[in-house]
Symmetry: none
Subunit: 223 residues, 2 copies
């Protein structure tokens, strides 16, 4: 399970490996981990380093060590704030995750969209086509349309995830627009219109494809 780790402190890497194996269910809640010496040898770090990793997870409430007895799994939940995660990672990886969310949401929306959803999407599309002077303004109407698409999927989790991405993606989008404005505005608007129409026609494959094409295009423009 040594998934190519090489950045940062060794103890932090070891903690990540342990957390992964715990969350994958290798050691159930309340169960005992192998001994320190065994684990250290298995992961490939010194015993002191492994102990620091355990202490780090203990601080997060995941593990608890009892002298003479062993180290036990206390909780599989982590205490990391979602915003913190997104701020730590690259914009590119957030955008990739956004592709996953939106493409799937578009396909589901093609199945489940109601006439009311469709009206909301077309209203957002119309607002997007209007004239916008600042990058902030344009980012706002663009994100609003994308949000309507995800909302039309009628899946709470996907919408919640999308909303989590919004601030970070919005920042990146404004940054990008200021550096390199959209060269073909007509084509961009047409791509969004095509996405909405695919959902309107209840064509999941086309909706997912349109969504994916647009977003990977943005991804490419960024790099």
């Amino acid at each position: 399970m040594a998934s190519a780790v090489q950045h940062g402190r060794l103890a932090a890497q070891a903690a990540e490996v342990l957390l992964g194996r715990i969350r994958a269910g290798e050691w159930a809640l309340g169960h005992k981990l192998p001994g320190e010496t065994t684990l250290a040898l298995e992961i490939g770090v010194g015993r002191s380093t492994l102990r620091e990793a355990i202490r780090e997870l203990a601080g997060q409430g995941v593990l608890e060590s009892r002298q003479g007895s062993g180290v036990f799994v206390m909780s599989t939940d982590i205490a990391e704030d979602w915003d913190v995660v997104l701020r730590r990672v690259s914009v590119a990886s957030v955008l990739e995750a956004r592709v996953a969310i939106e493409a799937e949401a578009a396909a589901l929306a093609a199945h489940r969209r109601t006439p009311s959803d469709l009206r909301a999407m077309r209203r957002a599309l119309a607002r997007r086509s209007g004239s916008h002077h600042t990058a902030e303004e344009f980012a706002g109407v663009d994100m609003a349309l994308h949000r309507e698409v995800v909302a039309a999927s009628h899946n709470e989790v996907l919408l919640e995830l999308f909303d989590g991405f919004v601030p970070r993606v919005r920042e990146a989008m404004i940054e990008m627009l200021k550096l390199r404005p959209i060269h073909d505005y007509e084509a961009d608007q047409a791509a969004h219109s095509a996405l909405v129409e695919a959902i309107a026609k209840r064509n999941p494959a086309a909706a997912a494809e349109r969504s994916r094409a647009h977003l990977t295009g943005a991804h490419r423009a960024l790099s």
Copy 2:
């Protein structure tokens, strides 16, 4: 400020002392603590013990150590919740979100998987093929394989999202297995093997499709 009753681990006591002095304002937010050797001597514990105390507080987000620079105060308390959201919604919507994450991750993994990733996936696949008596045990090895696939995408956000789903999906999976065991075990294992092979052959479309097919199958079985 006389030391209280000495209960439990020395490292835990040292962590408490440190937290107390931080809360008392001895070291302001963002400031640097004295060096390890100095602090260890001052508190009256060994250096490695003090390091474990620091690591414990680092796990709680209170401290952050930077190699070559020092240990700094990051915060004075803690708080959060994203897990609550997942517990509120239906298993079906979580599973739909999981399709989004895993299918995209599988495609990315087909692009980016390293030989090391591949070894990890095949190891997990082998463990999954072994005999498992309890539903919990099987759920563990199954989730471990799926996690390796997501890890091979080398996208932190997707992996973080997947990990967020694990506890909820795991519960549902065990529940389902107890009600209706897998009827065709060979086909199930073959489907997973096919997914790994598609990633090995660097075929993103096939990998995504295999992943999607397997998960929507599970989704259907649930409803």
